[in-house]
Amino acid sequence: MNSDTRLLELEDLRKWFEIRRGFLSSRVNYVKAVDGVTFSLEEGKAVSLVGESGSGKTTLGKTILRLYEPNGGRILFQGKDITHTKVKDLKWYRRMASLVQQDPFGAFASHFTVFRALEEPLLIHNTVKSREERAERVFKALEEVRLTPVEDFAYKYPHMLSGGQLQRVAIARAIILEPRLIVADEPVSMLDASVRIEILTLLRRLQERLRLGVIYITHDLATTRFFSESALIMYAGHVMEKASTREVLRNPLHPYTKALLIATPDPNPQNRSRFKEVPPGEPPALVDPPKNCRFSPRCPRAFDKCFKEEPPEFEAAPGHWVKCWLYERS
């Protein structure tokens, strides 16, 4: 990999949430929502982040956007270390990295029109000075997300638009500052099945055309094939498997990934039900978890070592990493 094209690098990234038991208790526990994530993303490439509910996908996304400050590890964006940069010094990064959220209905302040909602980032960053230019940028963004004729949408309030339309506006808002990275957190999971593919296709086209780095967070392993180059399988704050999307889908190595794939048999993504927890049992509680493989209690192939020690990531095939003792080379 050429380091010049590296957009984002995460090294052993950790985000632990502090929780206090009781009012006066000084004992602090941690929810280890993201616990040692390493990966890198190239400019203009998309990566899928797949995992069950509660596996820490959103937390990882927000930590990458520096909406959270990490507890450990490093975040490098275009080679710059932004791990602990103060919020007030992050303004440039806010332009470079943006967010598309899961719930389009909650993503907009109800007292802003679409125009105003899209104008806000421009106003905050003061990139465009004149009102006319701002209007031009807003209309261009609306065109990019195919909300045309733009005048029909620009002056509407959020409650006048459908979920799909709102998610397009959210995408328009995410690209209006011409960022290099977009974190799309389950961008279609709350939408009607009929518009999911449309929105994902739109996102993919924009990503390719604008050479955006995209982190696509999803439950749905099946859609990753069409929308990303590589995939990260997350479980309980750990990355269990990472490789190119094609490799993960064709040749899953981790027992957890295999279980996920069995759960999504239909090749037509439109008919695919969302991932259901097929492996028996529940994901472990993330409050001060024991030092072992976090999937071991549910793993059909677990052996002694799995319950005692946390596995490192093994490169089972070139570019194919698995966090599982089964792939330890003896």
Partner: protein
């Protein structure tokens, strides 16, 4: 994963839309009409009677010397069904005198002036105001000419000062003389007490009846050559103007009029300041959390158990009291209200909405988030409460004035009630004195209450069913 479903509340299209909606409630139309009336009244007052003048006049007793004391408003006639006397000022001008040169070089001067008296009741008081210049104090004789032509000698009076005043009503010897005259004419003791006013204006009968017609007053005196003698005979009525007068002869109308802008601005300013500042404090508390939140919450809790009125009374007794200081004390004591708790919870809830997170992701500062994202959400619901809280503040100011703790210079409604109380208005049957300011107070609170209620229904549509 629990998600907060945001209520997509209907947006009202701007101020015009709100006004339109408010006016769809009949009660609110009345409220707005009253409010407009009060506003017009305030503006009218401030334009026609500038405040310094009003304060000056309100504090001086001289300005009102020609007004009757404790006079009822003119419109009370409706209830009595008879014509009550207005104040009549009879001027005696030096220029109108007939002057005859005497042998010793002095002048014998005499005036006769006439006036009509057509009222159904006796005047309340008669006073002569002199305005003269002389080298030697002149002695003046007064004669009273009744409509039937009868002439009665009233009194001989040596001027004590150039601007001497003669209170005929208090003149006991005159009263006794008139009583004697009366008994003579009627041939018995009349059924009423013959006061100076009655002695002069009553028919000669056993019952007190006003003799209507043309009365005359004649002055006779001897003056030095260059002496000038002007006088005014003021025959005070028992009614005055739209609102009557108080114990210091001040027209209550001025107090009532000036009370309006004072009450309205005090009420509105305290309501707006209190509401907005509470909102900001609550927002800061909810938004930043942590130590700031802790401190604010404790202040609110302490403030809730502190007795508001005693502290206010203490403050106003220790410090120089003027309206601004009262306003500031009231605001400071009210901003840490329990309402802050509600705002705080609301803000904490809004803070967790996805659109705030989205805005943080595109770089919105805390300041911007609070001003443009949070406040516009929480402000509309508190506006009705703000409007409804205006009467409370108006009453508070009146209450403080009533307790004698108000601004000592300004004429306010509370002060009028205070005056009425200390002068035993109710005891003496001067109901108008208390009822007029009370009416204004009630009018003001009704206006704000009606509008506040309508706004409440708009902001909180569930109340529409009530």
């Amino acid at each position: 994963m629990g998600r907060l479903k945001m209520s997509s509340s209907k947006r009202v299209g701007g101020l015009k839309g709100v006004l339109h909606e408010v006016l769809s409630y009949k009660s609110a139309v009345i409220g707005v009409a009253i409010l407009l009336f009060l506003i017009v009244l305030s503006v009218y007052t401030m334009v026609t009677i500038p405040l310094p003048e009003a304060i000056q006049a309100w504090r001086s007793s001289e300005a009102w010397s020609r007004n009757p004391r404790n006079a009822q408003p003119e419109w009370v006639e409706i209830f009595y069904g008879k014509k009550l006397p207005r104040t009549i000022i009879v001027p005696l001008k030096d220029a109108d005198a007939t002057k005859v040169l005497l042998e010793d070089g002095r002048l014998a001067a005499s005036w006769t002036v006439y006036f009509n008296y057509e009222y159904d009741d006796f005047p309340s008081e008669i006073v002569m105001f002199f305005n003269s210049s002389y080298s030697e104090k002149p002695a003046v004789e007064f004669y009273w000419i009744r409509p039937d032509g009868e002439e009665v000698f009233l009194k001989k009076h040596v001027l004590r000062r150039p601007d001497d005043r003669l209170y005929l009503s208090n003149d006991l010897s005159l009263e006794l003389r008139l009583e004697g005259l009366f008994e003579n004419k009627v041939g018995g003791k009349p059924s009423f007490m013959v006061t100076v006013e009655k002695g002069l204006f009553a028919e000669y009968s056993l019952d007190p009846r006003v003799l209507k017609g043309r009365y005359g007053i004649r002055f006779e005196t001897t003056l030095e050559k260059n002496d000038v003698l002007n006088a005014e005979v003021v025959i005070y009525g028992s009614v005055y103007g739209l609102a009557g007068t108080d114990h210091l002869r001040r027209p209550l109308l001025i107090g009532l009029l000036w009370g309006t802008p004072i009450a309205m601005s005090f009420g509105l300013t305290s309501a707006i300041l209190t509401t907005v500042l509470s909102l900001i404090i609550g927002t800061i508390s909810g938004w930043y959390g942590g130590k700031i939140d802790l401190v604010i919450q404790r202040i609110v809790e302490i403030n809730a158990v502190l007795p508001f009125l005693p502290i206010l009374i203490m403050l106003t007794t220790f410090y120089r009291i003027d309206l601004l200081i009262i306003l500031l004390s009231v605001v400071v004591l009210s901003i840490f209200s329990l309402g802050i708790k509600g705002t705080r919870i609301l803000v904490m809830q809004i803070k967790s909405y996805p659109y705030i997170e989205a805005a943080q992701a595109y770089g919105a500062s805390n300041m911007r988030l609070i001003l443009f994202y949070v406040i516009p959400k929480i402000l509309p619901p508190v506006v009705p409460g703000m409007i409804s809280s205006v009467p409370g503040f108006v009453f508070l100011e009146a209450g403080l004035s009533y307790l004698g703790l108000g601004d000592p210079f300004l004429p306010t409604w509370g002060k009028i009630i205070n005056d009425a109380q200390t002068n035993g208005a109710f005891y003496k049957g001067m109901y108008y004195w208390v009822l007029e300011p009370a009416f204004m107070l009630i009018l003001t609170s009704i206006a704000f209450a009606l509008i506040g209620m309508a706004l409440e229904k708009i902001v909180n549509p569930k109340l529409k069913e009530l």
